[in-house]
């Protein structure tokens, strides 16, 4: 697969999902199991992405400057600091640790 094929396939699929919501009768959503699972799917995927993005390096697990950066980010979200400020702070923590301590 080329990068363009990946981009276009994923974009068309996500647009089709949105259209499907307007095209189909809303019967299945009335089932609490389906609605609950759709909500929990978002939570599970985001949590998995955090784990992989923080600890993964290809197929290895490593502890590097990303871990303290994520801890700082969690603390800032706890203090209700806005999203963009937290994201920039996390980048700065990782960058500073790499520049000053030689941490990976």
């Amino acid at each position: 697969m080329t990068m363009w094929q990946i981009i276009l396939l994923a974009s068309i699929a996500c647009a089709a999902i949105k259209l499907a919501g307007y095209a189909v009768p809303p019967h299945w959503l009335e089932k609490p199991t389906a609605a609950r699972t759709a909500d929990l799917l978002t939570v599970a995927l985001l949590a998995a992405l955090i784990a992989v993005q923080t600890l993964g390096a290809g197929q290895q697990l490593v502890l590097d400057a990303r871990v303290p950066a994520l801890v700082v980010a969690a603390g800032l979200y706890w203090l209700r600091v806005p999203f963009l400020v937290v994201v920039i702070a996390a980048a700065l923590v990782a960058a500073a640790l790499r520049a000053t301590t030689g941490m990976g």
């Binding site: 990068m3 094929q5 990946i6 981009i7 276009l8 396939l9 994923a10 974009s11 699929a13 996500c14 999902i17 949105k18 259209l19 499907a20 919501g21 307007y22 189909v24 809303p26 609490p32 199991t33 609605a35 609950r36 699972t37 759709a38 909500d39 929990l40 799917l41 978002t42 939570v43 599970a44 995927l45 985001l46 949590a47 998995a48 992405l49 955090i50 784990a51 992989v52 993005q53 923080t54 600890l55 993964g56 290809g58 197929q59 290895q60 697990l61 990303r66 950066a69 994520l70 980010a73 979200y77 999203f83 963009l84 937290v86 994201v87 996390a90 980048a91 700065l92 990782a94 960058a95």
Partner: protein, 242 residues
């Protein structure tokens, strides 16, 4: 509440103001998306096509997140992750159809395009039908315009930075996902699902292909969703749109 003129704001005016505020705040995320997409190996055009055509932040972050760990060979896993995260937009569409749908196929396609977390949440927070419609369209349009402009800005910044790891952009990606997850961690059930999914994804990373651990974590949601383990009977754990 009365304004400075002494006249009360109408529900439609309140919806307009909320839509603009939420839209501008959300659009600011586009900078981080643009920078991370370029760091993951996309060029500026590919990054912009995602924000224009896909236009659903969670799926966009997921796609470039998986591509960042596995490269182009993780393409199928990246597409699957984006689809799974985008599936909630179908549920939003079903809730928004009676409010903004049914005005011809062109308006329906526009409504579907703009159906995301924020437009749905602002619309459903309003009291009457006119205000809900206004809230949906204002939020959707402000986010769409702002998100695409800030995506270009972020992509240009990411392109200028070069070695993005030295600037901590990989840590910024994890922090961005945490920001999307944070408002949803309100019940024991969502916290349990998040914890289990994170542990499962980390444990699978050394043994399966890049991208697959994220998809496997979806099983945690299916198990908890089907059994409603740790859930509240009769209540939906629907984050910010309840």
């Amino acid at each position: 509440m009365t304004g400075r003129s002494g006249r009360a704001s109408t529900p439609v005016q309140v919806a307009t103001r909320q839509g603009i505020a939420v839209g501008i705040a959300t659009a600011a995320y586009g900078v981080s998306f643009g920078a991370l997409a370029v760091a993951a190996g996309l060029d500026i055009w590919q990054t912009c096509v995602l924000s224009l055509l896909m236009f659903t932040g969670g799926s966009q972050f997921a796609l470039v997140g998986v591509l960042a760990t596995g490269g182009v060979s993780a393409g199928p896993a990246a597409i699957t992750s984006a689809i799974l995260l985008g599936s909630r937009n179908a549920a939003y569409g079903m809730r928004m159809k009676p409010i903004v749908g049914g005005n011809g196929w062109m308006r329906d396609i526009a409504a579907a395009w703009l159906t995301i977390d924020e437009s749905t949440a602002v619309a459903l927070a309003q009291k009457d039908l006119a205000a809900r419609r206004r809230g949906f369209w204002v939020t959707g349009l402000v986010v769409f315009i702002g998100w695409n402009l800030t995506t270009v800005l972020g992509a240009l910044i990411g392109d200028l930075l070069g070695d993005t790891r030295a600037y901590g952009l990989d840590a910024a990606a994890a922090a961005a996902f945490l920001g999307l997850l944070w408002p949803r961690l309100r019940s024991r059930q969502t916290i349990a699902v998040a914890s289990a999914a994170a542990v499962l994804a980390a444990a699978l990373t050394p043994v399966v292909a890049p991208g697959v651990p994220v998809i496997a974590a979806a099983l945690v949601a299916v198990v908890f969703g089907a059994t409603n383990w740790l859930g509240v009977r009769g209540a939906s754990p629907r984050g910010n749109t309840s």
